[in-house]
Amino acid sequence: MKSPVRIASGQGFWGDWLEAPYHQVTGGPVDYLVMDYLAEVTMSIMQKQKSRDPSLGYAKDFVPLMRRLLPHLVEGKIKVIANAGGVNPGACAEAVIDVARSLGLVGKVRIGVVIGDDLLDRLDEIIASGVSLENMDDGRPISEVRDNVQSANAYLGAWPVVEALRQGADIIVGGRITDTGITLAPMIYEFGWEKRQWDLMAAGTVAGHMIECGAQCSGGNCLVGWEQIPRMEKPGYPIIEAHADGEFVVTKHKDTGGRITVPVVTEQLVYEMGDPASYITPDVVADFTSIQLAQAGKDRVRVSGVKGAPETDSLKVSLSYFYGYKAVGTLVYSWPDAFKKAKRANAILRRRLNDLGLKFERVLTEYVGVDATHGRLAGKPDPDIPEVQLRVGVRAEEREPVERFSREIAPLILNGPPSVTGFAGGRPKVEEIVAYWPALIPKDAVETRVEVWDA
């Protein structure tokens, strides 16, 4: 048994720093590279891509990244686990196989594919079988949005990934695998942990939560002592050194920037936290009030004491559905009286929208520089404030009023208050809103399948 097992985080979201995974596999010893690619609405974008071209529908960036990394991965015997497969993990795996072959790595790489999270085609059958799919947050029935659903994916946990590892996969791609599951899976596999060892499941889950946002646990977006965090031009992304007893150390490669201390990692632990005593994943219910942290050297934090409770009998399902349209327009007003001018422009704009008879679900005005982030808590602005950005957003079920709004910003430049600038971006873009609908489904209604292919 390998100990410790080193699990490196390479991407905190689709669009994260492209250099991070490269530094993780070349900057020192690691055994696994794990990468989270999926946000809730990413799946609906991918479903649309797939409906236009059946060979698409996954995180395309993953393929050139594998081209860059594969020689290093093979040489260092590093395995990769990523939910880059989106709504088409099979196509993603085939693309990776093509890359491996073109690099002359035939027979040297095995690709694992985790399938079964995508429920879109089974949705009517699932509803007919009595699963309500009511909105977990507000209890609304699925019938309200059924006709507008664009994607439906169950969150899968660590176990299908463990199965792929057991079948010898080196690169594992899946769809909606949880960001904690991709970190827990290699621990289960390497240490032979069993399903009912809930404290161990919880420890691996906490490790996953710790590194799921990449550098956000090693100094990125960190408030405590932010000015003194060194060398953020090359932040070390986090690495878990996992041990068989569930204890682990969070650290990073030498010769990297960033910082790993108890206060820094605590910020990440509380990120997107609900009830900390009951952090529910497909694998376990982890208790974050049991976590013990201790500094164990420079840029090393030891995590111990994690407790877990048995898994629930359901999985979370993430559905996305068409909601309506929105647009946001901005203009910048300068001193003197910058705030007054921006407020006057807003009043004029709203009067015009009203006179046009446009109906919106919501019109929101913010003044960037005055109240956009903290509202009234920010207090009154300096009367001499050098500039204020007027930011007005609208939202409606129909496209037409939003489209018309997008043509009402530019005229203010010549027919509204003076000293206005900052409109080089042109007319506001009308965006389709695809919203997120969380629901629950019994675990036994979701069947996962694992396939392992040779390159």
């Binding site: 947050d137 408030l223 910020e267 609900g274 900390p276 974050f288 009030t289 929105k326 982030t373 903290h374």
Partner: protein
Amino acid sequence: MRKTREATKKVQLVKLAHARSGDKGDTANVGLIALKPGFYPLLAKKVTAARVARHFKGIIEGDVERFELPNLNALNFLLHGALDGGGTISLKTDAQGKVFSTALLRMEIDVPRSLKL
């Protein structure tokens, strides 16, 4: 003997804690972490759910829940109805509730005058 009330001073939370926030649908969470372990009992006593709800009155639409993590010297707050529908629906600059953290740090609480910052 009558108990004398200890002299106090007002201190902004930014001197006592750091914080990070994020989103879950239309709910923002704020994790408030004591800068020193000794500050945690003060935070736990003074920064109640009701106090935070007052702080954000007019800014959030729903109620406030509080959870304690004494092991991390931290409190976790859920601010419901904070994000104009949340995620992709929201028109707010801070659609994902990323800076409710620092908005909470603007709050002032009464602490003993003898407290060393």
